[in-house]
């Protein structure tokens, strides 16, 4: 397993490099944002440990660039900034996990193991409808290359609609696939989630078939392209 460690503090870098090597990983080290960006783009790492406060280019920008370049490597963010606004920004930039300094080395190693296990999980093909793209392995969706921020219920709904592209799916069917049977379901749940999805992917991609249900379609221009 090959890991990219991006950290500018020399002491912490040395320690982490040591700890990661001891745990059996091959470790490359980058001390600034530009070097990290280059390495992450060029080399096939299994995971990246990324500090956010970096010289030359900050970590969040590096991460956003990778994601735009379709680098899907799982990234664990390491930062002193533990406020929720920072965490949200980190995940929005495309992080897979987040660890706040100061931390115990064991915790970092445990998180990294979980991250690698997750990404090595069952691979299923990506779904693509027009500009809409869904990656079931990373549980991520994007539109025109921009990552979409979805909650698990929204993701599940979108996944189901995309798997049945063009077919009208009834509300009952959607509720059954959205919730376990032991969960209470109120009648307007589906409308709420369809509404939120439309806000995120554009209102025209989900059509309402009055009295029947919903249907996911590509936009007119996109059909010809794909």
């Amino acid at each position: 397993m090959r890991i990219l460690l991006v950290e500018d503090d020399p002491d912490l870098s040395r320690q982490l490099k040591q700890a990661l090597s001891d745990a059996g990983y091959a470790v490359d080290h980058a001390a600034d944002g530009e070097e990290a960006h280059y390495l992450g783009d060029a080399e096939p790492y299994d995971a990246i440990v990324l500090d956010l406060g970096l010289p030359k280019m900050d970590g969040a920008t590096v991460l956003e660039k990778w994601r735009r370049d379709n680098v899907g490597t799982p990234v664990l963010i390491l930062t002193a900034r533990g406020a929720w606004s920072d965490k949200v920004a980190g995940f929005d930039a495309g992080a897979d996990d987040y660890l706040t300094k100061p931390f115990h080395t064991e915790e970092l190693l445990a998180r990294l193991r979980a991250l690698l296990r997750r990404s090595a999980g069952h691979a299923s093909p990506n779904l693509e409808i027009g500009a809409l793209r869904l990656d079931p392995r990373a549980a991520r969706a994007s539109i025109d290359g921009e990552p979409l921020r979805l909650t698990s219920l929204e993701y599940r709904l979108l996944h189901y609609l995309m798997m049945h592209e063009g077919r009208v799916i009834s509300r009952t069917e959607l509720v059954e696939h959205l919730y376990d049977q032991d969960f209470d379901r109120d009648s307007n749940t589906i409308e709420v989630f369809i509404g939120r999805l439309r806000k995120k992917i554009g209102p025209d991609r989900i059509e309402t078939a009055r009295g029947l249900g919903y249907r996911l379609v590509a936009l007119p221009g996109e059909v010809a392209a794909s």
């Binding site: 982490l16 930062t79 002193a80 406020a83 606004s85 995940f91 992080a95 100061p102 115990h104 915790e107």
Partner: protein
């Protein structure tokens, strides 16, 4: 208890100034008008008396033995007893007195008196009339006119006197004074009302500005937006600059604090890592002390944020997008556990405060639920009234027995000592919610686990 001194008021000052001036002007006007009317009446009255005197003078004769003969006047009022119109011809008597020679029949058996001053005056200026007031028969208030003349054929001068009851013109004057006063009082009241309206209308932009500032403070708006007259426009501009400056200061403070935290936390990480790699008594001490320092850094970070927050004005945050961000972020954090966060919030619900703080409040509560749940977390935001809303976070975990709920909220307490993350959790939330004048309550959830209900200030949308 002594009464608090009345504070100066612009409205009062303007109204008093205008009212004082108006009342003074009206008073002077009233006095002048009344006096002028009274004088005019008296002059006309005196003309009548002069006529009578003239008639008396031209009709009087002196007989050969020096007796004054009464003139034949046709005025019936001078014939009827005590009619109110009288005449009399007298001559000086020794000792500053006067002796009556002839009198009108209306005087019947009475003399027409003369004041000492009038007597002296007529003696000093023969031929010139002198007016005076005197009480006549039946206590009638009389106005009299006396004139000293020398009749042909008589050496000693005589005094011609004419008098008439003056009560009709006194009544007239009183009536006029009353009408004038009434008219002026009405006019004054009208002016006062107009002044008040004028002051209110004139100062309305000031009241508007006050309302807008209060809305900025309450978080309903972010800046003073209305258009104001040239006199107030600079004030509004300055206020906006102040609000902006305030927000910048808050932001700068936050940035400084964040930088400090960053600067301290990396060395702490190095110490912790170094210590963990070389087990021993020293490592234990270092680890323990580093953890304490981390707690201190976190604590002071929050205090600095709270201090910065108390100065910030006019912040409002939509709840819906914050919950959306948190739900997706936390589901990623708890991805190995596959936590499902189902959240609901009215789309237009607004928190009166900063986005960062709502993220901290909701983030910590939902993270706590995520740590304890079996897989499901439910988040519901709902408005209570115009001023407050509730944020309810429930999970399907083991819940918390009532007797342990108190200790969760003690600062520094951690229910799950081994849980990752900053972990102070609900104690921070409780502190932060109180800082916002809100509250945190714990109860059982129908889903099986704990229900945390936050009550927070709401900004009108």
């Amino acid at each position: 208890m002594s009464r608090a001194p009345r504070r100066p008021s612009l409205v009062r000052r303007l109204v008093w100034l205008a009212a004082g001036w108006s009342v003074a002007a009206l008073l002077v006007t009233g006095v002048l008008l009344t006096t002028a009317f009274h004088q005019a009446s008296l002059r006309r009255f005196d003309l009548g008396l002069a006529d009578l005197n003239q008639g008396l003078l031209s009709g009087s004769m002196v007989s050969a033995d020096g007796q004054v003969q009464a003139p034949q006047l046709t005025d019936s009022r001078a014939l009827r007893a005590y009619s109110g119109r009288y005449w009399q011809i007298a001559e000086h008597a020794p000792g500053g007195r006067m002796r009556v020679l002839v009198r009108s029949r209306s005087l019947f058996d009475q003399d027409l008196a003369i004041t000492r001053e009038a007597l002296t005056q007529v003696a000093a200026t023969p031929g010139a009339p002198a007016s005076y007031d005197v009480i006549g028969p039946l206590s009638q208030p009389l106005r009299a006119m006396a004139m000293q003349v020398t009749l042909p054929g008589r050496r000693a001068p005589v005094i011609m006197m004419a008098a008439e009851d003056r009560s009709p013109i006194d009544r007239e004057s009183e009536r006029f004074a009353f009408l004038t006063a009434a008219a002026l009082v009405i006019l004054g009241a009208g002016i006062l009302a107009a002044v008040m309206i004028q002051v209110r209308v004139g100062l309305r932009p000031l009241f508007d500005l006050r309302r807008e500032i209060s809305e900025v403070r309450k978080g309903k708006t972010e800046r003073v937006a209305g258009t104001y007259p040239v006199e107030l426009e600079p004030l509004a501009t300055e206020l906006n600059a102040l609000v902006t400056h305030n927000q910048e200061v808050v932001e700068r403070q936050r940035t400084h604090v964040g930088n400090l935290a960053h600067a301290l936390k990396t060395p702490l990480s190095v110490m912790l890592t170094e210590a963990s790699q070389r087990p021993g008594p020293l490592s234990e001490v270092v680890t323990h002390q580093a953890e304490l320092m981390r707690g201190q850094v976190d604590h002071h970070l929050r205090r600095a944020r709270a201090a910065a927050r108390s100065q910030s004005l006019g912040e409002r945050t939509l709840v819906d997008p914050v919950l959306d961000e948190l739900a997706s972020t936390l589901e990623r954090i708890f991805l190995p556990k596959a936590v499902e966060i189902d959240w609901r919030a009215p789309e237009d619900l607004c928190f009166r405060g900063e986005r960062q703080d709502l993220l901290e409040l909701a983030g910590n509560v939902i993270e706590n639920a995520g740590q304890w749940c079996k897989g499901k977390v439910r988040v519901t935001a709902a408005s209570v009234d115009g001023e407050r809303f509730t944020l309810r976070v429930e999970d399907d975990g083991p819940g918390l027995p009532p007797e342990r709920r108190g200790e969760v909220l003690k600062r520094g307490a951690r229910l799950d000592e081994s849980a990752p993350g900053s972990g102070l959790g609900l104690a921070i939330v409780d502190e932060l919610a109180r800082a916002y004048g809100g509250a945190l309550a714990l109860s059982d959830s129908p889903m099986g686990g704990l229900r945390v209900e936050l009550t927070l200030p709401r900004a009108e949308s």
